[in-house]
Symmetry: C2
Amino acid sequence: MKVLDCTKCDIKSSAAKMLNVEELKILGNHCSEVNFKKGEIIFKQNALSSNIVYLKKGLVKIHIAGPSAEQIIKISKPPTYLGIPTTFDEKTNRYSATALEDTVVCFIGLDMFKQFIKGNPNFSYEIIVELCKSELDSFNNTVNRAQKKIPGRVADALLFFNREIYESKEFYIPLSRLEFGNFVDTSRESVSRILTEFHTDRIIQLDGRKIEILDEQRLEAFSKRG
Amino acid sequence: MKVLDCTKCDIKSSAAKMLNVEELKILGNHCSEVNFKKGEIIFKQNALSSNIVYLKKGLVKIHIAGPSAEQIIKISKPPTYLGIPTTFDEKTNRYSATALEDTVVCFIGLDMFKQFIKGNPNFSYEIIVELCKSELDSFNNTVNRAQKKIPGRVADALLFFNREIYESKEFYIPLSRLEFGNFVDTSRESVSRILTEFHTDRIIQLDGRKIEILDEQRLEAFSKRG
DNA sequence: AAAATAAAGTGAGACTTATCACATCTTGAA
DNA sequence: TTCAAGATGTGATAAGTCTCACTTTATTTT
């Protein structure tokens, strides 16, 4: 296994920033860095797992196979941990993670991770902060998904890519229409229809997956009204 | 303020079980026990908050005012913490908590709570475990709400009360029809219709809020198919 | 107990969205 | 290039759910 030098890592998680040089060296010895190409699965629902996954570069979807369809629970960007809840609480993963772009992650042994939690209070404090944020996001999502109609949810997704992921009005949607549907709880057909409608209304400029947001305010209006 | 003797509390959280006698005495000095009657609000969305709330007895709904309706995010039973994410990450509460039955909670000062996290690794470990469980539940909820039609969601809710809350086939539904709708993302009318349908089909025996589950298997079938 | 208020049940029509069917467009492989 | 496989767009129809209107039943209040 390639040994990492975590002391030199400049994309540390807020928790890892709490580790001293000694601890970072230990971390490096129990940690491996792996590259994933777009589309590759990082870990799979129902598989056994004993690693915490730290997302360093790229973009990842967290998804669950439901009774009738695949559902994208959330899209994570670095720096963040991917597998804390599923690894900590269960023997098998409750969800899958798949790279949406070329991605770099570090696999961290669970024992090691637990050791830091029990050994470094500032580390565990930051983990708690991250878990709390994540739970609030998830509540927020629940409300949005339940109370908004499809145009509102599509608008939300576009604003999410614009603001949280790409920080630019122009970007390539990192999802197929089907995946987009899995992300906003609809069919691929409905996504197509709403997107072309937004295009026709000059709210967005659309060409395949290439998109430019022309009228952020009207997108927000859709988001707010439902 | 009434000082509590947490050393004698026999409904400690799994985190509090990790505290020694000294720590429990300190906890008791920074903690107050409050009773809430059915229907009373424990804490309110958008209010400032500096307490962690520990649910000791009773039953509580966690709810959020969305763009068009009030939504019940989850129903919590003891022993559990109610306000960790909302208190930890934000200045103001992102959700409300309301007693569904007569309820006893302990308010714990946030500073105290943070002190234990930083001072006792076993304590913070248990908090992390609880947060992880809660996040997995929340993912599970997301899938259920999105992929199931109303009969499936109503069936889920009934099985939830049966299995997680009352552990009995006979119980009183702790929600009005409107609240039930807010819990399973529908209108009160749809809840009424589905419940009477289940009654007619002899899946349940229903009289107002009093209910008996007659055919658990058929409820599960609804849940699985959607 | 009577009146007022709130909660619950139910039918009908409107609206949203899913599904099916098919045409078109891309993309990668042979 | 040519073909195959997958992704996308779009219309028509069907299904599910919401909303409105009204009635009936509980629960509170006076």
